[in-house]
């Protein structure tokens, strides 16, 4: 996955709290192989009415929203299941940044592992951005800022995650560089606490 420093593009508002992973991608779509693309599953049951027709009032169905790269939403976004498919749905639909006052913990790690920035901002600043949507925004990872028509605000992000997003690091490669330490640790553990291996 390539790293990135700046994202510029359309931002759309999803003014809801607690958008959980079951909303982001309903369970019935999760047996699909990733190669088929998950973008069409994003928020499927919120975007469509009972007959399966797109709901014209839903913000993501508005004209121009299909080009959006930035999603602005309310607290506790991505709570719930560990399903990484929730992140695949966002990424495959073109999103690179989600801005919210808080995120589900597992969702955040999954996001960073897939090049999607979970940018945390205080609730008031988020409300200002929500009001400005739809609009063009610029998100600068290195500077830690979001620029919208009304001005720029800083967001918080774990330092390690920032590096990871910018460099597009793959954890497996990083870890394999420590192969001998891991091997030695395993040996010591097996000797000192043999019960930690299944009987």
């Amino acid at each position: 996955m390539p790293g990135w420093t700046v994202q510029e593009g359309r931002a759309v508002a999803l003014p809801l709290e607690n958008v959980d992973t079951d909303q982001l991608i309903p369970a019935r779509f999760m047996s699909t192989p990733r190669s088929e693309g998950y973008g069409g599953f994003l928020l499927h049951d919120l975007r469509h009415d009972a007959e399966g027709q797109p709901d014209p009032d839903f913000p993501l169905n508005a004209p121009g929203a299909e080009a959006a790269r930035i999603l602005v939403t309310r607290r506790n976004f991505g709570a719930g299941s560990s399903r990484e498919a929730a992140v695949y749905a966002l990424v495959d639909a073109g999103f690179r940044v989600v801005i919210a006052p808080s995120f589900g913990d597992i969702f955040s790690s999954n996001a960073v592992n897939n090049g999607l920035l979970p940018a945390q901002l205080d609730a008031e600043a988020v409300e200002t951005l929500l009001a400005a949507c739809p609009c063009e925004m610029r998100v600068d990872l290195e500077a830690g800022t979001i620029s919208a028509p009304g001005g720029a605000v800083g967001f918080t992000l774990d330092r390690v995650w920032r590096q990871k997003l910018m460099n597009g690091w793959d954890d497996i490669d990083l870890t394999l560089a420590h192969d001998s330490e891991i091997g030695a640790f395993a040996e010591t553990r097996k000797r000192a606490q043999p019960w930690t291996w299944p009987a």
Partner: protein, 465 residues
Amino acid sequence: MSGRTTLDKLWDDHEILRREDGTSLLWVDRHFVHEGSHHAFAKIAERDMGVRHPELTFGVADHYVPTRGAPRSADIARMIATLTGNAERHGIELFGVKDPRQGIVHVAGPEQGLTLPGLLVVCGDSHTATHGALGAYAFGIGATEVAHVLATQTIWQKKPKRMRLRVEGALHPGVGAKDIALNWISTLGADGARGHAIEYAGSAVRDLSVEGRLTLCNLSIEGGARSGMVPPDAVTLEWIAGRPFAPEGALWERACEAFLALAPDADAEYDREAVLDASEIAPIVTWGTSPEEALPVTATLPDPARAETEAEARRISASLDYMGLGAGRPLAGTPVDQIFIGSCTNGRIEDLRSAAAVLKGRRAVVPGMISPGSSAVKAQAEQEGLDRIFAEAGLDWVASGCSMCVGMNGDLVESGKRCASTTNRNFRGRQGQGARTHLMSPAMAAAAAVTGTITDARPLLEGRS
């Protein structure tokens, strides 16, 4: 220097190295995989990598398994077959559909003695916190992390903040672990413990059986915490002793000493403390579409007109609207269409016994399904005659699996139907598109079955064990 918490002790014991930026590489003792792990297996296949420690990795079929007869669709059958294929390819022991050890991963793992105090346990499932009930540091991970654990038996983590949640005093009869959990989640919020590892403490937690502790830890994630733990004590050790994968003889004796040493030091410091009074907890039911939207069964539904902010008013209206409920009405008496008892939250033997205590000699007036948390729980329940109580009440006794908790196997609640459920998520559409879920304890779900409405189970339990 102050003493160490249980999390501190476990963390120190698993840290292989710490990078300059503060991220630690941790050793993983147990890794559970299930049908949903297919993305992770595909990722290691893409890189032509194997599973580093298959002997520490265990597979369980649960999310897609049929609870009656054959899989409902070719897609569902394929998900189960993919897990079997991946387990075979990598030499991973699998508790497959026909295996008597099969069950929901968070029920079967502890039950088989695979989860022990002091272990670091991960699984690509958010309810992995369940295993913390035995004093393990257990948390759910995503597919990229699952692939990393398969390939390296390690995981990079930043240490979470330490939170102690004490529940002091005694619970009233008919009130249990599920009520404690929904109580604190509704008080602190669905993101109330975000960024924290919870250690549960206090006399009410000590008094819980291991089954109750598993339920309590299971729901940690619904309050935003990735993990929840109960420091090991005599109750823990007694529960584990003699389980199939648990150590035996002299090794067990040695292990027990190490296990008990995991209790927090008397002067351990936490980043955050919260206290609940057990005697104030009543049976709790969710009314909305987030686990934080929960109230005592004796309460009335919220009214958006009384909300403090406009955003809150809109949230309440949206939840009431989805749930088909009227503002300000009593929660008790709300008619339900069906009930479901099961899941990794409330599918254990004690849960079934407590439902049976309400159901015995009574008839359900709405349809319902009871799916035991594991095949072993199923066998035990049948030995105790619980299945007959359920059948005589007119409820369906089916095989073990995730079933109607998530509906992946096709056990779904129809759109617009209201289900009294012992599961863990009342999210919109969780049990099926348009389904309306009320979370509650097994006794409360049983009470809903016999009355056809949301009902306080306590009077129905009077004079019964």
